[in-house]
């Protein structure tokens, strides 16, 4: 294969490449959001048990899934930066962290708003909800550690180590919380076990894809700013058209 993949690992070529890709991600995300919301609100039928409130699912489930997924991706990038000493992957990790934290927050917020009509309380110590809260703490720890260190290289390496330790801990935390929950509550309130209507599934997957593309677009814009901030002393940055004009 003659393609040189490492060419895109250099910040200068990556910067140009993602500059071209961002609009595609952004627009397809927007269109999918519209389609997903349309199916979710107008096509999908009212749930027998939960009424209209179940429609919160179409935003709650994608943000929950993505908040965990983004943490793993972030830890993966951070580990890559730590092991192979590639600057770009560390920058990707720090670009993903704020978005991940916001997704975790949204997941908690929508979870609470769904829980109130269904369980009668804004917050229950359900295993998934508690784990999500811990995940938010892990994100905040990552961001806080990075913000506290002035030298960007040390910040990258230290937070990478934290992210790796965190991702090893996430399953342990999840299972311990789950176990604790079953011990203390005996029977937790569970969502109806009935299979979802096809339109509900379609709406959820479309929204998941839309959120995913949104995450990619936003974190790519953020990583472009980070590249500019970190590489400000290099020639290629000073020669960029948006800087020279």
């Amino acid at each position: 294969m003659a393609i040189n993949w490492f060419k895109y690992a250099a910040p200068s070529s990556f910067y140009g490449l993602i500059g071209k890709m961002i609009p595609w991600f952004a627009w397809s995300s927007g269109i999918l959001f519209i389609i997903g919301l349309y199916i979710g609100f107008f096509v999908a039928p009212t749930d027998v048990q939960q009424g209209e409130a179940y429609r919160i699912m179409f935003i709650h489930v994608p943000t929950s899934i993505l908040s965990m997924f983004v943490y793993l991706v972030m830890a993966g990038y951070a580990a890559m930066g730590l092991i192979f000493n590639t600057r770009l992957s560390s920058m990707m990790a720090s670009a993903l962290a704020p978005t991940g934290a916001l997704l975790a927050f949204l997941s908690l917020w929508t979870g609470a708003l769904w829980g109130k009509p269904m369980w009668g309380a804004w917050w229950v110590w359900d295993a998934r909800l508690t784990s999500e809260l811990v995940l938010l703490f892990l994100y905040l720890g990552f961001i806080a550690l990075q913000a506290a260190i002035d030298d960007p290289r040390r910040a990258d390496r230290a937070s990478a180590l934290l992210a790796i330790v965190g991702s090893v801990n996430v399953p342990i935390i999840y299972f311990s919380v789950k176990w604790w929950n079953t011990l203390h509550q005996g029977s937790t309130v569970k969502f109806s076990g009935t299979s979802m209507h096809v339109a509900m599934q379609q709406a959820m997957y479309t929204m998941l894809l839309a959120c995913w593309l949104y995450v990619i677009a936003v974190s790519l814009i953020r990583v472009r700013s980070i590249i500019l901030e970190r590489e400000r002393n290099t020639q290629w940055v000073t020669d960029l058209p948006e800087v020279t004009k």
């Binding site: 002035d150 030298d151 960007p152 290289r153 970190r230 400000r232 002393n233």
Partner: protein, 204 residues
């Protein structure tokens, strides 16, 4: 033998120096010179493996120090700006622990002899807290006396030392070089060792 080839060092996003190459053979004394902020301390810290070089490599006995790791540390001794002595302990305790960390157990007699040679007679068992700056530096320097590491890396060894202590340091370095040792150091004071021509490396 210590070989440095094409070494570059950066602090934050600021490049301190690059393309630095030199070798240090047995019996040689190398003084690193340069204005404040030119990267003297960073160079020494890189030689210790604390900092990763931005480019280039450091070889000890023809092997990269990253690969040698702990085997390299057994053959070098580093003395930084900070004395690495504990206020709560006395000089003997400090040195025994320091020698232990450097990988060897030393008899109490030898430690006391070393302290006396450094001009600290009568202060061996006082808490370091009550010693003056110069005396603390002498305690730190006493480590050199019972180390058998061939490579000495000294960052400003003469700070806070009086004339007699500077003379003593020159003597110590002379002895070390005569035993096929090597010394690399930074200083703002002149340091002359009889019979040895000091090589100079200037960072700009």
């Amino acid at each position: 033998m210590l070989e440095i080839s094409n070494l570059a060092c950066s602090r934050g996003d600021h490049l301190l120096f690059s393309e630095l190459s030199f070798t240090l053979a047995a019996g040689e004394l190398l003084q690193v010179e340069g204005v404040n902020g030119s990267g003297k301390t960073s160079l020494l810290r890189t030689l210790c493996g604390f900092m990763m070089p931005a480019a280039g490599e450091i070889r000890w006995r023809n092997q990269n120090i990253r690969e040698l790791d702990e085997a390299y540390y057994a053959e070098m001794i580093y003395l930084g700006h900070l004395n690495a002595i504990k206020d709560e302990l006395n000089a003997v305790e400090n040195l025994r622990i320091n020698a232990g960390l450097a990988g060897c157990a030393v008899e109490e007699k030898k430690i006391i002899a070393a302290l006396r040679r450094m001009g600290l007679r009568g202060r061996e068992t006082l808490p370091v807290k009550v010693l003056s700056q110069g005396q603390r530096r002498r305690v730190a320097l006493a480590r050199l006396l019972f180390s058998n590491a061939p490579l000495w890396i000294l960052d400003e060894p003469l700070t806070a030392l009086d004339v007699s202590a500077v003379g003593l340091m020159q003597e110590l370095i002379g002895e070390h070089l005569a035993h096929q040792g090597m010394v690399i150091y930074t200083t703002h004071q002149p340091l002359e060792v009889a019979g040895i021509t000091t090589r100079r490396l200037s960072l700009s």
